[in-house]
């Protein structure tokens, strides 16, 4: 609360132009953070889907008949060649062969990392939003004051 009061006093000392700049900057940063949060949410959903797909695949016995997607719209009947291992795309064109439990563990680790990042960003975003809102309130008050004095 003390820091909030301090920032409020700091904002009150600023001129109208400075307050406008602070508010604009704050809004811009909040928008960027919201975009990042949205991207993290999407990535988390993708990894959760991957984790559940791995879980489903591990339950299928080797030699089980499945339809394999060879392109986005072409499927052929095939049998599962190796139900114990999967290839995991770790980015920049690298693929690592992992066992099913390792694959699941990799997905879970990634999900946890993204969730912790999400929480941190959410905290930062809410702080930035508060500062921008405070600047907006003070700006409105100052503009009213200027109007009444003129």
């Amino acid at each position: 609360m003390a820091t909030s009061a301090g920032s409020w006093k700091g904002l009150e000392r600023m001129s109208v132009e400075q307050l406008k700049a602070v508010k604009e900057q704050g809004d811009l940063e909040v928008n960027l953070l919201q975009e990042s949060l949205s991207n993290i949410r999407t990535a988390t959903t993708r990894l959760e889907i991957a984790s559940s797909a791995l879980n489903d695949l591990s339950l299928r016995p080797q030699g089980n008949q499945i339809l394999v997607p060879l392109t986005a719209s072409l499927y052929v009947p095939a049998t599962l060649h190796d139900s114990q291992h999967v290839l995991v795309d770790v980015g920049t064109g690298y693929f690592i062969q992992k066992t099913m439990p390792q694959g699941k563990h990799y997905c879970d680790r990634k999900i946890n990392l993204l969730k912790s990042n999400f929480d941190q960003l959410l905290e930062v975003a809410s702080k930035k939003k508060n500062v921008a809102d405070e600047a907006g309130v003070i700006l409105q008050a100052k503009l009213k004051q200027l109007e009444s004095s003129s």
């Binding site: 993708r46 889907i49 991957a50 797909a53 791995l54 695949l57 499945i66 339809l67 394999v68 997607p69 060879l70 392109t71 986005a72 719209s73 072409l74 499927y75 052929v76 009947p77 095939a78 049998t79 599962l80 060649h81 190796d82 139900s83 291992h85 999967v86 290839l87 995991v88 795309d89 693929f95 694959g103």
Partner: protein
């Protein structure tokens, strides 16, 4: 110079109205029965309509340009399966289970493939039927793309003509005002 616009211009193409090239602004305004403000407003509106149609056509073009490589890829896969058909050799393929996760499958000699047609419909075709259907789809997509490119070219020409017409009408109006101003000045003198 008697005619207000060139008669050789295409009147329309696939629902896109052709733009008149105005040779003589005075005659054009007289024939259309519009004043300068109304003529400019009409031309600006027409320009906006062209822009909207262009956006739609560009979206269709993007869709087709994404679709064609996919169909070609499907044809390549079917051709590979056909080639492997008599050999008794099995095909090992890594397929995407989910985004970023791949598994390995063994494709034994197969006589059919399943094609996803959209709208939650998938049909099983023999390799020959699949090749025929995909080839037909590819030809149709390429033909559509050619027509679309021609439409876009036509549309861009109409946009250019309309923009030139707007500029000419506006400049003519400025010129007329200057003439009137000059006449008024000389009359005062």
């Amino acid at each position: 110079m008697a005619s207000s616009s060139s008669e050789s211009a295409v009147s329309e193409r696939r629902g896109i109205p052709g733009a008149q090239f105005v040779e003589d602004v005075q005659t054009y305004l007289t024939q259309s029965g519009l004043d300068v403000g109304s003529a400019l407003a009409f031309l600006q509106e027409r320009l906006q309509q062209y822009k909207v149609v262009e956006m739609k056509l560009l979206a269709q073009q993007r869709d087709l340009q994404a679709k064609i490589p996919d169909i070609e890829k499907c044809l390549d896969v079917v051709a590979t399966l056909k080639a492997k058909k008599g050999t008794g050799e099995e095909l090992i393929a890594d397929f995407e289970v989910s985004e970023g996760i791949y598994s390995r499958a063994r494709i034994e000699e197969t006589n059919s493939v399943c094609l996803w047609l959209g709208a939650n419909v998938m049909l099983e075709y023999s390799l020959e039927e699949a090749t025929g259907l995909l080839q037909k789809n590819l030809d149709n997509a390429r033909a559509s793309l050619e027509v679309l490119i021609a439409d876009l070219q036509f549309l861009r020409d109409q946009v250019t003509i309309t923009q030139v017409t707007i500029a000419r009408v506006y400049n003519w109006d400025v010129h007329q005002r200057r003439v009137q101003q000059a006449v008024a000045t000389t009359a005062q003198d």
